[in-house]
């Protein structure tokens, strides 16, 4: 939320030194000129010029190091493949153009990655699987720390005319590359093929993230159930239609097995109660 009251010029100037992408070069060249452009004058200007550019830049380093390291810790394989120089350049742009919005440092890497993804997708030099890999690396902490999850079962059996309730920490993701199969070593450079890769991610009883690879039909059904909140029957029909396939016995049988498996894993919590109950 933006300030409603004006901030004193020295504080605004330090903010600009920390965030601005061209600030380091500018203040090394002409600290007084930079500060004047930020509205600093008189005794404030004299005091800040006396401090010097190098000392002001300590704050920039401290802030950038903390936030950039937090992001790197969450997406180490993406950073290794992208290269340190590119990562630092992208992070510098993030600080300049957007900055973090969350009060929780653990949520800042996701903000940074979403900013990065827009830049990467517009850059032909960045391999197409990199956004998927970054999002996949983030997913582990996202599911592990989600404030939702662990809700009670509804106690109602599956019914065709009702939606299903899922554990709140469950995620349905669709990657364009099977990045979840990549080796975990930082120096690995295997390039995954481009292919639809739907996964269901949930938190188990030990609070660990678990990943389930889904068939195309299972992914379509779960999309209708989780994302669109359709009743079971409607979800099955919509999924088959979306794939241009008929809803035959094989599909119904596979759906029944899927629901049973998800119930056993604690992902599916039962049928949603009606609003009257």
């Amino acid at each position: 939320m933006a300030s409603e009251l004006p901030i004193e010029a020295p504080t605004a100037a330090l903010n600009a030194i920390i965030r601005g992408s061209t600030a380091p070069a500018a203040i090394k060249e002409d600290l007084a000129g930079f500060l004047r452009a930020q509205g600093v004058d008189g005794a404030d200007l004299d005091a800040m010029v006396a401090v010097g550019a190098e000392r002001m830049l300590v704050y920039r380093s401290l802030v950038h190091n903390r936030m950039r390291n937090a992001a790197r810790d969450y997406i180490p394989r993406t950073v290794a493949r992208l290269g340190r120089a590119r990562f630092i350049a992208d992070f510098t742009a993030f600080m300049d153009e957007q900055g973090a919005r969350s009060h929780y440092l653990r949520d800042v890497p996701a903000e940074i990655v979403e900013f990065f993804v827009a830049r990467w997708q517009a850059d032909p030099d960045v391999p197409g699987y990199i956004p998927d890999l970054a999002r996949h690396e983030l997913l582990d902490a996202d599911v592990r720390n989600d404030w939702r999850g662990g809700e009670a079962e509804t106690g109602l059996p599956l019914a065709l005319d009702r939606p299903l309730r899922f554990d709140g920490a469950t995620r349905l993701v669709n990657y364009g590359h099977p990045v979840h199969t990549l080796p975990r070593e930082l120096d690995d450079r295997t390039v995954p093929p481009a292919e639809p890769t739907p996964l269901l991610v949930y938190r188990d009883e030990q609070h660990r993230p678990r990943y389930l690879a889904l068939t195309t039909f299972a992914a379509a059904v779960l999309h209708e159930l989780i994302d669109n909140g359709l009743p079971v029957q409607g979800a099955l029909v919509a999924a088959a239609q979306a794939l241009g396939e008929s809803l035959d016995d094989d599909k119904l049988g596979s759906a029944a097995l899927l629901f049973a498996d998800l119930a056993e894993r604690g992902v599916c919590l039962g049928a949603e109660p009606t609003t009257e109950s």
Binding site: S3, T11, N15, V40, V51, R55, V58, G99, H103, D146
Partner: protein, 313 residues
């Protein structure tokens, strides 16, 4: 009467040496590996608020084992950005659950114009800024319905022309906000080294009756001319001495050992707590001796207990 004693009328306050909880050793503390050593555990709510999974389960286990003190990171008291309602709602819920005797945050800004920088940035030492911070401390206290304390930070550059020195500035905020002081003696030492002043003179200018808690930590050199408060090393003897100087004058207080980087195995941290406790107990002993000469009844009341939960008086 000190501010601590006022709070102790209605709230339990642990005294002695406590430990700041970090993810690195949270499992061990939750399962009892630290039992009997720290007098309390300090939590930073931002690390746990609005978070599910294993951490809330472990916090419950830890809260069953230790008294809890709360120390925030992101209230950004020096900013002009309005307080975030959602942040305060979650913070209030967290504090209501763990019921620490107060909540503290830093005399700094951590974000501006909606962009959060996740660091403790210095404020100009001027009357308008002191007024602004004091107003925000009062607003925080009202929103949280809990006593507030402010912590002095390490600052590496004066931000503009100062109308006063840091102790004068802190006094002005403390008086205007009528709040407590979380006195970080490592920050005093670091600032004294970086800016060339006598830390004891600094302490003599502070209203010790407002001190609710102390922080001790280690620091590291940034370069040949600058120390940085990294919480990445063992506590230096000079910082022990500053802590003892204060306790000798205030009597028992909660004193927290902070460690955020280069975190050693938990047994080593517990050994450091024991060493700190030895210095602390000696200081409490000197305070008791001095106080009993002046007022024998008061020293017996104030001194107990030096570890664990105090039930208030």
């Amino acid at each position: 009467m000190s501010m601590l004693h006022e709070i102790q009328r209605t709230r339990a306050v642990p005294t002695g040496i406590g430990l700041g909880l970090r993810a690195r050793f949270r499992n061990e503390v939750a399962r009892g590996d630290a039992d009997g050593v720290p007098a309390f555990i300090e939590l930073s709510p931002e690390n746990y608020m609005h978070r599910g999974g294993r951490s809330p389960v472990q916090l419950e286990q830890i809260a069953d084992r230790f008294p809890i003190i709360s120390h925030g990171l992101m209230m950004s008291l020096g900013s002009t950005d309005p307080f975030d309602d959602e942040y305060f709602d979650y913070l209030r819920g967290f504090l209501d659950r763990y019921d620490p005797p107060w909540h503290s945050d830093h005399v700094c800004w951590s974000g501006l114009d909606g962009a959060l920088l996740h660091d403790l940035l210095p404020v100009p030492f001027t009357t308008p800024v002191a007024e602004r911070i004091a107003g925000r401390v009062r607003e925080a206290r009202d929103r949280l319905e809990r006593p507030m304390a402010i912590e002095n930070i390490s600052w590496y550059a004066k931000l503009g022309h100062s109308q006063m020195d840091e102790p004068q500035f802190l006094c002005e905020v403390l008086e205007r906000a009528d709040c407590g002081l979380l006195l970080d003696v490592n920050n005093i030492f670091v600032n004294a080294q970086n800016h060339g002043f006598d830390p004891q003179r600094w302490l003599e200018a502070i209203p010790l009756d407002r001190v609710l808690q102390l922080h001790v930590a280690g620091h590291e050199p940034w370069d040949e001319t600058l120390l940085v408060d990294t919480h990445g090393a063992t506590v230096r003897d000079e910082v022990y001495d500053l802590m003892a100087w204060v306790i000798e004058r205030t009597g028992p207080r909660p004193v927290l050992l902070e460690r955020d980087t280069n975190i050693p195995p938990l047994p080593e941290l517990l050994d450091e707590i024991r060493r700190l406790d030895g210095v602390y107990q000696s200081a409490v002993g000197r305070w008791q001796a001095a106080t009993s000469q002046a007022d024998p009844a008061r020293s017996q009341v104030d001194a107990a207990p030096s570890k664990g939960h105090s039930d208030g008086q």
